[in-house]
Amino acid sequence: MSTAATAIPYKVPKRRHPAVLFMTQQPLGAAGLVVILVMAVCAAFAPWVAPYDPLAVDYGGMLSRPSPEHWLGTDSFGRDVASRIIYGARTALAIGFIASFLGCTAGAVIGVASAYFGGKTDLIIQGLMDVLLSFPIIVLAITVVAVLGNYVVLGIDVNLIIAISVPMLPRVERVVRASALAIREMPYIDAARAAGYSHTRIIFRHIVPNVVAPYLILLTAFVAQAILAEASLSFLGLGVTEPTPSWGLMLSGAAADFYQQAPWMIVFPGIAISLGVFAFNLYGDSLRDWLDPKIKL
């Protein structure tokens, strides 16, 4: 009598694409990402997506309510609100991404340097960061933009971007520094030092890769903050100026005068801002959960 060993078939699990994994594990984040992608497509292809020129004034169609011709109505100059929202996504995303990238990158560089070198360098940098952190984001942004004024290059207000980036810097710096401090104490860093590696090599080969996750999370979270800051500054008359399409600007000026007669002038740009900020926040939160190994466990 012989017994034959029965082979139990083992099916190697199929390795799923990270994007599919993200969507199944973080459905809310995926929804946020979809909204962001829609915004990005609208911004990139605005001339083809928008039904009208956002600057085209039509005095015959002033304050028209939403209709098949103008889905979201027109403003007090007869300009198509939908087209201005679509083009406004350009302003929001351009300023949001550039300001967030600059603020977060500068913050990360300073944070890593501060943590790695420690001592007096750390003390001085942290003192400066404390000063910047003592101002609320919008107050600091208003101060910077009031001092610098406007400086437009290729249709983008450089000073506005700086004004939005500066308040982000200390917040990112603190988070990145905390991560870098933990990494600095790792034995492999001591080993790298003992092996005589340069500071640059240690920082870029061993520390920076380990702070990329918090950096990316902050980057997405601060895009939302930057969009909100741009909208707030434009609303206060310190950001983008008429007739450039901007969500914040669409809420100020004539929109405030005609909010009873033409509520669509305020409602739709307001929805665009809320949706954009909400999408980035959802995506940022989900990305944090997804990239954080402790939460995964």
Binding site: N150, T241, E242, D257, Q261
Partner: protein, 526 residues
């Protein structure tokens, strides 16, 4: 029948207005009103904005002033009576007795002389933007403490009404002797209210001057001018935190306030001696080229713009260099002959494109400096930028806070390209409205900075012309030259709408927001 009805309605309206005016005033109370910008300094002689006149004028008196219900009639302020010689070259004023400055010092004819000397011939770093108005004065004499005599070099059709200018605040001769720039930082006049405080960004306060020369006046115990603008200002008015704003509201704001206040609101409307003008910096290329300036004026469809903008902004009337409707202004038939005023906008724009091409700037791009006051600067700015886009010009819109906006145009070597300037005066008078177009060395308020002796000569000739028909003809010549050269070009004239709370009495709308603001006759019916 319709005509009779109109007469009856008119008579009834006049009777109601007359009754309101005749109602016995009540003393007391604090008037809170809104001002949508702040004064850049405290010197009447150097200022041009309502942001200055509304909070500051109640501290001062002038020689004459306008009679609000009877505009353009004038009446004495510090002058009790006056006399003009037959040849029109000597103006003699008898001054009021018992007038005192807020520091208790007595007022005399020396103060009038010192004030007008400062206005016409500023020295010691003093800035007077009204030199041109008084250039025809040869001398000022003070035969006694209550008599002042102005002798003119030549006849001047507007001289008497000039003496009613609200900007000519009478200062103390003693203070000016100590420091000619004293009024820039101090507020001390003979007006119905003394200065209490100016809290930057917040408010300006005045208190009743107990030593005021008109017995029983002012009726108010004091006033607070609150610096607030835009939607918050309209909200404050609707909520009763302020009872008035004296510059003017947009049609949308008027409707909103009427809805909110119901029968507690009173509306007063009138055409306005105010227009927004585009000023080109003639010291800067390509705006030193008349073809470029004229092209930009030709591109603007003023007729369609006025019709459309009147629904959303406080502009309404198309006119040239003088207010439409004023008897010395160009008729519509004359206007349409001028470059930029034709009703055939397609032909005008075709000509504009040709001119830009000929000037070598077919794809002109420039920065347009504007004031960050929403009404009517922003809508008119957006309108103009759209008009210029239609001839292929791209424009960057720069909106500045009042102080920076004025500084950008007023500095000695301005760097702006083109700006939306305002030409607002306290009355209809060519000698005032034309100063924007006079050569810069004769008129500091000409921010285009050009020198054009042809215009200067035409100005002088019309100014000394007492025959109305001849003056009209000279004005048409001036207008043609000014608008062809297009150093400064008018856009659309304003329409003044004031909504105030009914308990505020004694205030009467005039075609200028600069006059009738001393608050001496204002009272609160509460």
């Amino acid at each position: 029948m319709k005509r009779h009805l109109a007469v009856l309605v008119g008579a009834a309206a006049l009777a109601v207005a007359g009754a309101a005016w005749a109602q016995a005033p009540i003393s007391g109370g604090l008037l809170k009103f809104a001002v949508s910008a702040e004064p850049p300094n405290y010197d009447c002689h150097a200022n041009t904005s309502f942001a200055f006149i509304h909070p500051v004028r109640p501290h001062y008196n002038t020689l004459l002033k306008f009679d609000p219900p009877k505009y353009p009639a004038i009446k004495g302020d510090l002058a009790e009576s006056w006399n003009v010689s037959k040849d029109g070259l000597t103006y003699t004023f008898k001054l009021r007795k018992g007038v005192k400055f807020h520091d208790g010092s007595p007022f005399s004819s020396e103060d009038i002389k010192a004030t007008y000397d400062r206005l016409r011939n500023p020295t010691g770093g003093v800035r007077s933007v009204r030199q041109a108005s008084y250039a025809d004065i040869a001398s000022i004499e003070t035969p006694d403490s209550l008599t002042v005599v102005f002798k003119l070099k030549k006849q001047n059709a507007s001289m008497l009404t000039n003496f009613a200018s609200p900007w000519d605040c009478v200062y103390s001769a003693a203070k000016l002797k100590q420091d000619p720039r004293f009024p820039e930082r101090n507020v001390m006049g003979t007006g119905p209210f003394t200065f209490v405080e100016h809290v930057a960004g917040s408010h300006w306060t005045g208190r009743k001057f107990e030593g005021y020369f008109e017995k029983g006046k002012p009726y108010l115990n004091g006033y607070v001018a609150i610096f607030i603008s835009g939607a918050p200002m309209v909200n404050a008015l609707a909520a009763g935190e302020v009872v008035a704003e004296f510059r003017g509201h947009s049609p949308a704001d008027r409707d909103r306030l009427l809805k909110a206040l119901g029968d507690k609101a009173q509306v007063q409307e009138t055409p306005w001696v105010c227009s927004l003008v585009v000023t080109f910096n003639t010291r800067k290329k390509p705006f030193d080229d008349a073809r470029v300036r004229r092209a930009l004026s030709l591109a603007v469809d003023r007729w369609a713009g006025a019709q459309a903008l009147s629904k959303v902004a406080l502009v309404r009337h198309v006119g040239g260099i003088l207010r439409p409707g004023y008897d010395l202004a160009a008729s519509e038939k004359e206007l349409v002959q001028l470059p930029g005023w034709s009703k055939d906008i397609n032909a005008s724009r075709a000509e504009a494109r040709k001119l830009l091409q000929a000037a070598g700037v077919p794809n002109l791009a420039f920065t347009f400096t504007n004031r960050n006051i929403a009404m009517p600067y922003v809508p008119v700015g957006v309108f103009l930028i759209d008009q210029w886009r239609q001839i292929g010009v791209s424009v960057k819109h720069e909106q500045l806070e009042t102080r920076l906006y004025l500084a950008a145009q007023q500095r000695d070597n301005p760097t702006y390209d083109a700006a939306l300037d305002f030409n607002c005066d306290f009355m209809d008078e060519p000698n005032l409205q034309l100063q924007k177009y006079l050569s810069h060395d004769r008129s500091p308020i000409n921010y285009a900075q050009q020198t054009d002796r042809v215009l200067d000569d035409l100005y002088d000739r019309q100014s000394g012309e007492l025959d109305k028909k001849k003056r009209y003809a000279l004005l048409r010549e001036f207008e043609k030259r000014a608008l062809e050269q297009a150093y400064t070009v008018p856009t659309i004239w304003w329409h003044r709408i004031i909504v105030h709370h009914k308990p505020m009495k004694g205030w009467h709308i005039m075609p200028s927001h600069y006059v009738g603001q001393d608050l001496a006759d204002v009272w609160l019916d509460q």
